[in-house]
């Protein structure tokens, strides 16, 4: 038995506008650019891919299943700039074949810096998924699949989740296969689903690479690779950015044709099926404990946090940001709080990454900056303004206007 478990990440940040030290307004975000990117990706990826997914689900009468993790910040942008995209996700939700995962509303790295903020953002995300899609997330994926043992423990304390997704990196699995269900140490009921990065990256990164010896990749061939897992595992976890379809891999690469034929190819073998992450967690017992004392992610070749926290600028920016948590929350100003949270989106720190020479291409994707230095300068200017708003004009109001954080 081999189950194919698809999860797609749907996310776009609120990019900052060019903000200099001489600016003093609070319009930090580039509405024009954000709307433009949102609509562009909607046209090239979200709308056509959603339509195709809907067709496939109907065509296979419930046997084709998928999962999405959609961040709060892109859901807000859909509502504002591309409501038809939101409607098409809602239509998918109604098929009963689509699962929505939980994550931090702001696609943040808050787990690393503020457990309180981390919990609040998971809760905010849960509520927006309930509101828009009528589901309560049971599976958690952290921003960029950042994961370690402590995250599993924290998440179990927060409660409400059955499993966590993480990168099936070689250095955490050793000789073991990602195609089984595992569990983290020191937890009672959480399960761990690990990304099969070889097969996932065949679709997400190598699909259009003409230098790759498997090019061109057709659904039939991919189906055979999945068949090969039969007897060696339960599940093939294919975790990819949704923008793979039509944006990272353009339509003319044949990516949509690949996707159109994939379910039928997989289902040709009666031993195969599609499962959502929560179905995988329900269906299979954990075979072993996977110990992950150090942080892993799904980024670059290092699978670590160096893309977000690898240089002094990134470290400085994110620490300064989280240092403001108490002051921001003490003001009780909801606009200020929302701005502070939008600055937590991991993309802002990704833009400051200086590891260009090896991983340059991926880092350039919708990056509004010419250089990581420009990105840092812009971010720090915004942060400087945000900090200046944290000083209440009437100090005595401070304690009385404290807004309690969601649990």
């Amino acid at each position: 038995m081999a189950s194919v478990c698809f999860y797609f990440q749907v996310h776009q940040p609120y990019r900052l506008r060019h903000y200099t030290i001489f600016d003093s307004d609070t319009n930090y975000f580039d509405e024009y650019k954000n709307a433009q990117v949102c609509r562009k990706v909607a046209g090239k990826c979200y709308l056509p891919t959603n339509r195709l997914m809907l067709d496939l689900i109907r065509q296979h009468e419930g046997r084709f299943k998928i999962a999405y993790s959609i961040t709060g910040v892109i859901l807000e942008q859909f509502q504002e700039y591309a409501p038809e995209v939101l409607a098409s996700f809602q239509e998918l939700a109604q098929t009963g074949c689509v699962e929505f995962l939980g994550e931090t509303y702001y696609h943040s790295l808050s787990f690393l810096f503020s457990p309180k903020e981390f919990a609040a953002q998971i809760d905010a995300h849960k509520r927006v998924v309930q509101d828009l899609f009528g589901q309560t997330p049971r599976i958690f994926r952290n921003t960029e699949l950042v994961y370690n043992n402590a995250l599993a423990e924290t998440l179990e304390r927060i409660g409400g989740f059955d499993a966590i997704l993480a990168e099936g990196a070689d250095h955490i699995l050793g000789w073991r296969s990602p195609n089984f269900v595992y569990r983290p140490p020191n937890t009672r009921r959480l399960k761990l689903l690990l990304k099969n990065y070889r097969l996932s990256d065949d679709i997400a990164f190598r699909f259009s690479n003409r230098g790759w010896r498997e090019w061109p990749l057709r659904a039939e061939k991919f189906g055979q690779w999945v068949n090969a897992v039969n007897g060696n595992g339960y599940t093939v976890n294919l975790f990819v950015d949704y923008e793979t379809f039509g944006e990272h891999q353009w339509e003319d690469t044949g990516i949509f044709e690949f996707l159109r034929h994939l379910p039928a190819e997989i289902l040709k073998n009666p031993d195969n099926n599609f499962k959502t992450p929560s179905e995988v967690a329900d269906a299979y017992e954990a075979v072993d404990v996977v110990d992950v004392p150090h942080l892993v992610s799904w980024a670059d070749t290092e699978r670590d946090l160096s893309a977000w926290l690898g240089n002094p600028m990134q470290s400085n920016a994110i620490h300064e940001l989280y240092n403001l948590e108490g002051m921001v929350k003490a003001t009780g100003d909801p606009d200020l709080l929302a701005h502070w949270r939008k600055l937590q989106t991991s993309d802002h720190f990704y833009y400051m990454c200086t590891k260009w020479f090896a991983d340059g291409d991926v880092h350039k994707y919708f990056n509004p900056y010419d250089s990581p230095y420009d990105s840092y300068i812009n971010f720090m200017n915004v942060l400087d303004n945000l900090r200046s708003r944290c000083t209440p004009t009437v100090p005595s109001l401070r304690s009385s206007t404290l807004v309690p954080m969601p649990a």
Partner: protein
């Protein structure tokens, strides 16, 4: 095949007044190290003198390079940007070559001097054997053209700057004509960046396939060990440095306008302008007129240990050039552990990643970035570390190897 080059170049140590001299020296030295045969013709007022023992320097340092003097009062950049102190005045140096007929007089104007230089080059070349002529910037072009015509050897001209870089739109027609003539007469044109290549193609109508880009390098050996990064404190103030000729081309006034903006936000900062040039007094006036005279310090032309010292004081090096064909100076600043902000109108901006970049006219953005460096040590640190690492990759050996490729194309040999 071993190609013998007759090089018509500029300035050898100890007196180098700017990028042209630095480039000729660095390139030639690297060509020598790589075993390329070069005869370097150097315009000198008076005999060629080298600091220390010149024979030793030449033979041990770069054995394949021979130096010959061309009696001439021509100096790099003409009289536009040279410090008065840069006139040759070495003492205790050995005479390398017989001085034919006493010091050449200053010509009444530059045209005559360029012609006279060409005639003398022709004369000297009679006793030389060479396969290719390599001329650097316009003042040597007439000599290169004439020599190529007489000897039948191909001419390669290298453009370190054009009349448009030096004079904006107010070009000197005489200079422009010589540049254009040289570029068209040459078998190949070498430019020091794509930025300059575009100018050569669009403003001088040179066929693009004839123009090769060879980036400059920096001299490792002179900067073997890193200067301690700790800045020498200047009364606790941060220091922003302009170092270069103070001429229209270098954009000194944009530096001052940005300085004024910075000073509106940051009190504890000083601006140092190191260099001489025809805009020096105008720039001093402007600083006073902007009301920031007490924060801007003019050091005049610096050399040697003084340069090291001013770099040690600096928190940021700014190159606000209006038009900069390459820009070796930012690489030198990085070798001295000083992060850099450069004008986008430069060769270095296209070739280098770990620098801040601005449009020279965008005063607000220049000030914005200067303030960011002054306020955020992690920015300074990242620019410094990554910038220095990247700067060390600009090696003269690579430039020399590219020049060698160009020679092979010109001579049509493998």
């Amino acid at each position: 095949m071993k190609i013998r080059t007759l090089m018509l170049g500029w300035e050898f140590p100890p007196y180098i007044s700017g990028g042209l001299g630095t480039a000729c020296y660095g390139l030639t030295k690297a060509m020598g190290r790589m075993g390329m045969e070069v005869t370097f013709l150097l315009p000198r007022m008076g005999p060629v003198r080298m600091a220390g023992n010149p024979e030793m320097t030449l033979e041990s340092g770069f054995p394949h390079v021979r130096l010959r003097a061309v009696p001439s009062s021509l100096i790099a950049y003409g009289r536009r940007g040279n410090p008065p102190s840069a006139q040759p005045a070495t003492t205790g140096a050995a005479v390398l070559e017989e001085e034919p007929g006493g010091p050449a007089p200053y010509g009444p104007n530059i045209c005559e001097e360029v012609q006279r230089y060409a005639l003398r080059v022709m004369k000297i070349a009679e006793s030389e054997e060479f396969d290719v002529i390599h001329a650097h910037d316009w003042m040597t072009f007439p000599a290169g053209i004439a020599l190529s015509a007489r000897s039948g050897k191909p001419l390669v001209v290298q453009v370190h700057s054009t009349e448009f870089d030096r004079s904006g739109e107010h070009v000197n027609q005489y200079v422009y004509d010589i540049e254009r003539h040289g570029m068209h007469a040459a078998a190949r044109v070498i430019t020091v960046s794509n930025y300059t290549r575009n100018i050569v193609v669009s403003r001088y109508s040179v066929p693009p396939e004839k123009v090769e880009v060879v980036y400059n390098g920096i001299d490792f050996n002179d900067f073997g060990q890193a200067v301690p990064p700790q800045a020498a404190q200047v009364g606790g103030d941060k220091v922003v440095l302009f170092l270069g000729r103070i001429t229209m081309q270098k954009g000194p006034e944009y530096f001052l306008y940005a300085a004024k903006k910075v000073l509106e936000r940051e009190k504890n900062v000083k601006f140092v302008m190191a260099g001489d040039g025809d805009r020096l007094y105008g720039t001093i006036d402007l600083a006073a007129w902007l009301g920031i005279g007490h924060k801007v310090f003019f050091t005049r032309f610096l050399r040697g240990a003084e340069v090291d010292r001013v770099y040690r004081m600096a928190d940021l090096y700014v190159m606000p050039s209006v038009s900069e064909p390459f820009g070796i100076a930012p690489l030198e600043a990085l070798q001295h552990n000083v992060p850099v902000l450069v004008s986008k109108s430069s060769g270095i901006a296209e070739a280098f990643r770990n620098a801040l970049k601005v449009d020279f006219w965008d005063i607000d953005e220049m000030a914005n970035k200067i303030i960011a460096v002054l306020r955020h040590p992690p920015l300074q640190e990242t620019l410094r570390t990554n910038g220095r690492k990247e700067a060390l990759r600009f090696r003269w050996e690579d430039s020399a190897a590219r020049v060698n490729e160009v020679y092979h194309k010109v001579l049509n040999v493998a």
